[in-house]
Symmetry: C2
């Protein structure tokens, strides 16, 4: 079996080249005294480094100047009071620096930022100073010149596609980041959707390969599941979380990869790891073939508060089993029979134990009889119900105010996928226009990590300023629009 060093070497071999573009903001220079501030607009969301110069105007400043420089993905972030931050993730994610500068100079800020707007506040200067030569050097590993054209005729879908590809582009750095503002990390769930959209847009298969190997080099937990994220900086480290649905979606990402590249070498390298993910999952099924909660376990599914996740997780398992047995069949691996047969068995068990015949929905004791869109969608994607029955359930749950609803474009991707699986293309187009178009109406330049139409400031972290407004898992409209000709 291949080892960690081998996988890391492969990841390194596919390290992408970053491409840099200089962006000049709307304002070319500005003179300011103590207390003054001004906002630069890049006219687009970008990820990279900021530099500027300042000089004396008439009188020489005779003490250091103190500047407060804030980077905001939107104007709400620029104008909010960071001192009131009350989120449950670190306040250091808020992009603001305090700089003391001894004398007029060119300032090249060392950190990378994700922003459309830059607010410079002169906290203290003895005399007016003049700012000029603003430059934001944007970075991405996406090759813009390779972007496959989008053929939709619909103006809104065109706009959605454009924002979606920008979102992906800005998350494509030296790996697929979840969000360039926060956490800037490689997560499996995000990777799967980024990679999928990538095949239809920038089609950079090396970076997908690289990410697959980065996970392969990770350390599995006691149950055998891959880490859900890995650290790349300052050196490689396997992440501590082993989210069950993410471990399964790693296998799906490998299946997608083969489907789009036919690269059998990579599949051969990763096949054993994929099998062990499914085998590890099989080991936590009860005698009825239903997944049971394990100590220290966590499923993600969505950021929906209070969501019960066992049924959805079981659906992810089915979805993965189906994709993986297809892959095995395609490449001529005899194990496909074992996984196919398991798929059939587990599907039946789900209908028997997780479906409530009276309610005509997946409402069960596993999830404390909670009715969620998530359970219905994943059972549909898992093939437990089909056709008109599934279609009715899908529409019913989306329409039910009492059902737990998705709060992330991540979960809404799977809702849209379920619609497409059921042949509900019109519904899918409308759903996509409503949900992703809703963010555009609110001024989004890139798609957000979380979006609740009735509560646009909703945050999974207790504070909107912690939210990532350019989040890779929200880029999949480009996948749907391009793959299915929306």
């Amino acid at each position: 079996m291949k080892n960690k060093d081998y996988f890391l070497k492969k990841a390194q071999d596919n390290y992408p080249v970053l491409k840099f573009t200089a962006i000049t903001p709307d304002i070319s220079d500005f003179t300011a005294s103590s207390g003054d501030s001004f906002i630069l607009d890049l006219a687009q969301h970008a990820v990279g480094h900021f530099s500027f110069s300042f000089d004396n105007v008439e009188k020489f400043i005779d003490a250091p100047v103190r500047l407060i420089i804030r980077f905001g993905e939107d104007m709400k972030e620029i104008n909010s009071d960071f001192s009131l931050y009350n989120g449950n993730v670190s306040k250091t994610w808020l992009q603001e620096e305090i700089l003391n500068l001894d004398y007029p100079q060119k300032v090249c800020m060392p950190r990378r930022y994700a922003c459309r707007y830059i607010k410079i506040t002169v906290d203290e200067t003895n005399y007016p100073i003049k700012f000029f030569d603003f430059r934001f050097t944007a970075a991405t590993s996406a090759d813009i010149s390779a972007l496959i054209p989008c053929n939709t005729e619909d103006a809104l879908l065109k706009k959605i596609d454009c924002v979606a590809t920008n979102t992906l582009k800005n998350c494509m750095q030296t790996f697929f980041e979840d969000g360039p503002k926060r956490d800037r990390r490689l997560w499996t769930g995000d990777l799967r959707l980024e990679a999928l959209t990538n095949y239809y847009t920038f089609n950079n298969s090396e970076i997908v390969k690289r990410c697959l190997y980065l996970f392969a080099a990770g350390e599995c937990d006691r149950l055998g599941f891959l880490p859900s994220y890995v650290y790349e900086t300052p050196y490689y480290k396997s992440g501590e979380a082993h989210i069950a649905d993410y471990a399964l979606l790693y296998v799906v990402t490998v299946c997608d990869y083969y489907e789009h590249t036919a690269d059998i070498c990579v599949v051969n390298d990763l096949l054993q790891i994929c099998k062990s993910q499914l085998d590890s999952f099989e080991a936590v099924l009860d005698e009825n073939m239903i997944v049971t909660m394990q100590e220290g376990w966590f499923a993600f599914i969505d950021w929906c508060p209070g969501l019960e996740k066992m049924t959805a997780l079981q659906g992810v398992y089915l979805y993965t089993l189906e994709r993986f047995s297809e892959l095995l069949k395609t490449i001529g691996d005899e194990d496909f029979k074992k996984y196919s047969s398991l798929l059939t068995q587990v599907r039946s068990a789900c209908k028997k134990y997780l479906y409530d015949e009276n309610e005509k929905a997946f409402i069960n004791e596993s999830d404390n009889r909670q009715f969620s869109v998530h359970s219905q969608i994943w059972m549909i994607l898992g093939g437990v119900i089909n056709g008109k029955e599934a279609e009715n359930l899908l529409l019913l749950c989306l329409d039910n105010k009492n059902a737990k609803q998705p709060v992330t474009p991540y979960m809404r991707h799977y809702v849209t996928e379920a619609m497409m699986k059921l042949g509900m293309k019109d519904n899918a187009v409308q759903y996509l226009k409503n949900l992703w178009g809703g963010m555009i109406e609110l001024g989004a330049d890139t798609f957000w990590e979380a979006y609740v139409p009735e509560d646009p400031d909703f945050s999974p972290y207790g504070d909107r300023n912690a939210n990532s407004l350019c989040h890779a898992w929200s880029c999949t409209p480009s996948y749907f629009i391009r793959k299915y000709g929306f």
Copy 2:
């Protein structure tokens, strides 16, 4: 006549080489969580750049770390609450930075600091982090290996000499700075005392020459006086203040320079400027040969609050006239007669118009009849009174609680010089031991900008944290100890 470009070229030709020394603090590593802080001690006052590394301990930090790094010249500064700062100079002089660091790394802080102590506070980290590889790279243009030994047998004087040479060393950078914490600028009054002490310690005449030329390149005010300071960064600029006593002391600095180097080329380059300083001063004398206040004028003399300065300023004029006519005589310049004769005239005028025969002191209307040490000392240094009469007055004023007293080692240098002029060596030694020794008793590693024994926190700027604790004008004990064999 030579022009600005010529003088700047000469200044550039004498640009000093900085020498760097790595200082390792007392602590080699430290593990810290959010809210923790620790203090590094360099065991000496130093001027330069700080670097350190930090890394994860067990868990990877999964958000940027925020550090607050404070540099203090002493522990009082390290432990004080900067948010209460109430000084009348910019708060940006307080040496504290807030750093957001994305991941473990070696951090080389870009600014220069003056400090003995460094306090690192971990404002936010998700998991404990370990700090290590602390390094302070100290810079000076003083050549330590060239330091002339000090022959005093007295333990306290030895200690005072050591602290004084450290003070000078740390102010010797690419020019003679007044203080490396604040203002880090070339001022004439400071330059004169630094240059003087330099001849007896590091004896680097190039840096003196360089500073003389930097002023020569400056722009005189409407009255003909040189600027009192010049800016060197980011590019040369003549300062806006033209302090009267400082303009005169520039001439004295040229005299000192010739006395110690016999470098006639420099004197020839600067002679016309020197003459014009004295001629400009002559132009502001009234019909009695007494200086009159000019619009927009300012004399420094000392930071003593409420000090009346016209008599002292007149003394600086006499002192300068005497030194300059000696120089002219030495180099065979016939103008010496004009300045000598002026000196005699003005001395008589001072005795007649500024001395109160009843009070037996220089108390007069020019200074609203204020009795100050400053007036007495400068009249003595100006040679208006001599011998026992001067000695009695000197002792009397220093002993008089109602007299305005010096608050800076700068003014106390001239008190000591006056004692030596009057042959009061024992008093001078005792004065020096009391005043500079007093700072050492309070833990000084370098001598302070201001020091009032009864009020050690006295600040000319309304807040002790604005004070410079390594101030060049306080380095002259090494001059006295070494020149006069204290």
